[in-house]
């Protein structure tokens, strides 16, 4: 690594270029496709030179597709709204439940805390369908089938373990002395928690929340099993869109772009937190 010959440097550059190309190309291509009309898309051989159009996006946002054959309603905006509701809702609930619990796990080594934490972590690796399939039957019985409420509760399976594990690590890293000092000065536990512990663990909570949001947004199988057509998020909705809209490839591409943009933007904005979050704090990067 100390001195690199010119040959080696060229090789490295080439390798990196190919790698970046491989990983960026599909996103780039779908983006291009979303700006093309069907005629341009079906042109063979595919060309890079074309007149970009926003008609695909306007069709999706307006919710209607008018072709010379017929007019068709597009439900995709609804899917987008569902994704937002489900992701924001589940992460909020998970934060509400998970942050205090993470604090409890970090500060008080009570009996069974390690076991509970261990069990919750092992749930992360259990097959989702194992829980989802009985839940479909249960939900029908207790009337939670096809409700946002029911879905948000099930999404806790994704968000809560993540938040618990990441935030616990951050609380463990905060020295209790600051908290003791504040309490001795006469403040209640809750005030201490709010004014001292939470701000200090802020980055960790943000990281966990971000990661939980991304996982909730990208989830497919939970929604596929438990949500019916009008509650489906974009992941399931995009697939349904393909079957429904048949040959409107430009709009399918636009739908995909709209679906992946939020998480990509979030990832770019918060990439600093992602490394630690993804490795669950195993590696201090």
């Amino acid at each position: 690594m100390h001195h690199q010959s010119l040959f080696e440097r060229i090789l490295r550059g080439l390798a990196l270029a190919i790698i970046v190309l491989f990983f960026m190309f599909p996103i780039f291509w779908i983006l291009l496709m979303s700006l093309q009309t069907n005629e341009t898309i079906l042109r063979s051989p595919p060309s890079m030179v074309f007149e970009p159009t926003l008609s695909n996006y306007s069709a999706i946002i307006a919710g209607r597709l008018d072709s010379n054959v017929a007019s068709m309603g597009i439900e995709f905006m609804r899917n987008l709204m569902n994704s937002i509701i489900l992701s924001v809702g589940s992460v909020s609930l998970a934060l509400l439940l998970g942050v205090p619990a993470a604090y409890a796990f970090a500060r008080h080594k009570f009996r069974g805390s390690e076991d509970i934490a261990f069990t919750l972590l092992s749930f992360r690796f259990a097959p989702p369908l194992l829980v989802l399939l009985p839940l479909t039957l249960y939900f029908q019985q207790i009337g939670l089938a096809d409700t946002y409420f029911g879905l948000i509760w099930v999404y806790q399976l994704i968000c809560l373990p993540l938040i618990l594990w990441i935030v616990r690590g951050y609380f463990e890293d905060i020295s209790p002395d600051v908290e003791y000092a504040y309490r001795i000065a006469g403040h209640s536990w809750f005030a201490t928690f709010r004014k001292i512990s939470l701000p200090l663990a802020g980055p960790g909570i943000a990281a966990a929340a971000l990661l939980a949001f991304i996982f909730a947004w990208n989830n497919f199988i939970f929604a596929l099993v438990l949500a019916s057509a009008d509650k489906q998020p974009v992941t399931v909705g995009a697939l349904a869109f393909v079957t429904a809209s048949g040959i409107q490839y430009g709009q399918i591409a636009a739908a995909v772009v709209l679906s992946i943009t939020p998480t990509l933007v979030l990832a770019l904005y918060a990439q600093r937190y992602l490394v630690e979050g993804l490795s669950l704090g195993a590696v201090k990067g």
């Binding site: 690594m1 100390h2 390798a15 990196l16 790698i19 970046v20 599909p26 996103i27 291509w29 779908i30 496709m33 898309i41 063979s44 998970g98 205090p100 619990a101 409890a104 796990f105 008080h108 009570f110 509970i116 069990t119 972590l121 690796f125 259990a126 097959p127 989702p128 369908l129 194992l130 829980v131 399939l133 009985p134 509760w153 806790q156 399976l157 690590g169 536990w189 991304i214 947004w217 990208n218 989830n219 497919f220 596929l224 099993v225 974009v234 992941t235 995009a238 679906s259 992946i260 998480t263 990832a267 770019l268 990439q271 992602l274 993804l278 490795s279 195993a282 590696v283 201090k284 990067g285």
Partner: protein
């Protein structure tokens, strides 16, 4: 004592102090229970002859679901496909991820920029990634089909062809998850102590040997952790395969969760799908215990080195 009394209603101080942690984590405990109930239900179902389409015929058949699975060639196909898929994806992602991590090891602006860009596939929903690749491999206008044709593979059917379906879904998986390996290994690489390398350089040890004798052994815990992590996820892969081919063509890509899903929703055979899932769970439970112990140890090491 005065401040505690003044903070309002903490008369049974000892009792509430002990209960407090449990109260705080009560919601998390509830979620735990909320998961365990369906789990035991599924285990119960797996011991039943239970078809949604034949509710009158429901009854206990104890181990019969499992026996019929073990004697069913389609089960062994499911097992084989799942293992092959998991094995290939993890190995490819490990090698590729390691290679990229080595290339990006130095903290330069360019390298950091590239690592950030490489995060993007990982943040794409796997189901949507499969959709993207489905579009790209469309025989009429797909860019990948076009490339394949230019390379001489006339009429390559990617996901619709039994011989190339596995390659196609593995490609999607590699695209989405290699950055995960890269991130972990890169963080691991950057956290390695520099002294052994400096000493080796002083002694004139060639760089290849430095890699095999120093880097690789020190990186092993990270490699093992990352690989187990991915293995656990890969053997249960649903999104990519279902979005791409729903397990087809035929049953070429019928992995565990896809098979269980179809058994439940298409054949309405709850008992059989539950049995499949319990078997899968047993495998992942065993593997995840190994993983968690390994990972906790890794975490302690990383903590200790600050």
């Amino acid at each position: 004592m005065a401040d505690i009394a003044a903070s309002g209603g903490a008369r049974p101080v000892r009792l509430s102090k002990r209960l407090f942690p449990y109260l705080l984590s009560l919601p998390a405990l509830l979620v735990c229970i909320g998961i365990l109930i369906p789990f035991f239900t599924a285990a119960f179902y797996s011991l039943q002859r239970f078809r949604l389409s034949q509710p009158w015929n429901r009854g206990m058949n104890w181990g019969e679901n499992y026996l019929s699975l073990f004697t069913d060639p389609s089960f062994w196909n499911t097992l084989k496909v799942s293992l092959v898929y998991a094995g290939v994806t993890v190995v490819v992602e490990l090698l590729l991820g390691l290679a990229i991590a080595l290339l990006l090891q130095k903290r330069t602006t360019l390298n950091n920029f590239i690592s950030i860009m490489l995060l993007m596939p990982l943040m794409t929903a796997p189901a949507l990634a499969a959709l993207m690749f489905k579009l790209m491999t469309n025989p009429n206008f797909g860019i990948l089909s076009f490339f394949a044709q230019s390379l001489g593979f006339q009429d390559m059917r990617w996901g619709s062809d039994t011989s190339t379906a596995l390659f196609t879904v593995v490609l999607v998986d590699v695209w989405v998850y290699t950055p995960f390996m890269m991130i972990l290994l890169l963080a691991g690489l950057r956290s390695l102590p520099q002294q052994p390398f400096e000493a080796a350089a002083l002694d004139g040890v060639p760089r290849i040997q430095q890699f095999w004798r120093i880097t690789l052994p020190m990186l092993m815990p990270y490699i093992l952790t990352a690989s187990l992590f991915r293995l656990l996820d890969s053997i249960q892969q649903f999104d990519i395969i279902y979005a791409m081919t729903q397990g087809g063509p035929g049953d070429t890509l019928m992995v565990f969760q896809v098979e269980a899903y179809l058994n439940f929703f298409q054949s309405t055979n709850v008992g059989r799908s539950a049995a499949l899932l319990i078997i899968l769970w047993a495998v992942t439970f065993f593997l995840s215990n190994i993983f968690i112990k390994n990972w906790l140890r890794l975490r302690e090491r990383a903590r200790g080195e600050i």
